[in-house]
Symmetry: C2
Subunit: 151 residues, 2 copies
């Protein structure tokens, strides 16, 4: 319903698109400078926009939030977050260098090894799940494509 005029608009699920930017045995996380979960750590991600593909949106968010230079790779996770009407997509993305330039939505961007990940300070469940799959697949020597549903 329009908050101005109370006209009813049909609302559909939204896509949230992001990446797992990796460098050797490390993954890039961003500390959020905006609500919700300000101060918590996240993979770079945001709402998909008109005029772009899922992968292009994921790359755009990675540049906007971390200023990272990346080479996009395969789709890695697709996670339905049913209660909030969102579908989250994370792509693997190889960091081409370590020059970062965090944008205004990010307090700091930092690389973490698996044992350094701030598991208790992650902003979203989809970020935790994606990181768990990433390090499990890395140990297994092969990266798959993982689907999951959160309610």
């Amino acid at each position: 319903m329009c908050s101005s005029c109370e006209h009813v608009h049909y609302v559909n699920p939204l896509n949230v698109v992001g990446t797992v930017p990796f460098w050797q045995d490390q993954v890039l996380l961003c500390r959020r400078n905006i609500e919700p979960r300000k101060g918590m750590w996240t993979l770079p991600a945001g709402f998909m926009e008109l005029g772009e593909t899922v992968a292009e949106g994921a790359a755009r968010e990675t540049v906007e939030e971390a200023g990272a230079h990346i080479e996009m790779s395969d789709l890695f996770t697709l996670i339905n977050v049913v209660q909030v009407g969102q579908v989250h997509f994370f792509y693997l993305a190889r960091l081409l260098d370590l020059e970062l330039a965090p944008g205004p939505e990010t307090i700091e961007a930092q690389l973490f090894r698996e044992e350094e990940i701030p598991w208790d300070e992650l902003a979203f469940r989809t970020v935790r799940l994606t990181l768990e799959h990433y390090f499990a697949d890395r140990r297994g020597g092969r990266f798959g494509f993982h689907c999951a549903d959160l309610r």
Copy 2:
């Protein structure tokens, strides 16, 4: 912009979710009883709704449009249709029987072998692309996950 009050609403891409319902060497298509592309053939699909996962939406559309009894399988294609702001998802779905009950949006539902597919009467490019991948993978003996962008 709200058509009633001209309040600006942010518009994001929409997800269209459907299935490739298969039975032995045949695939189920539905002839559309609604615009756009009324009278053309399509895989069962429609807009994802709030409160469901991508796969649940695909299964719902298959029941609504064909009345088919299916067992959902893996995500098969993810196709960005950039110009119209849509992302199309098709899941493989095994038909459990041949009892069909097309809904009001469908003129008729019918099974087709590869050589019988009405290629020139398909409603959407994403349906054509998904069917091409389906029969190619079937010949190859292994079903993959295919991503594509249409502009």
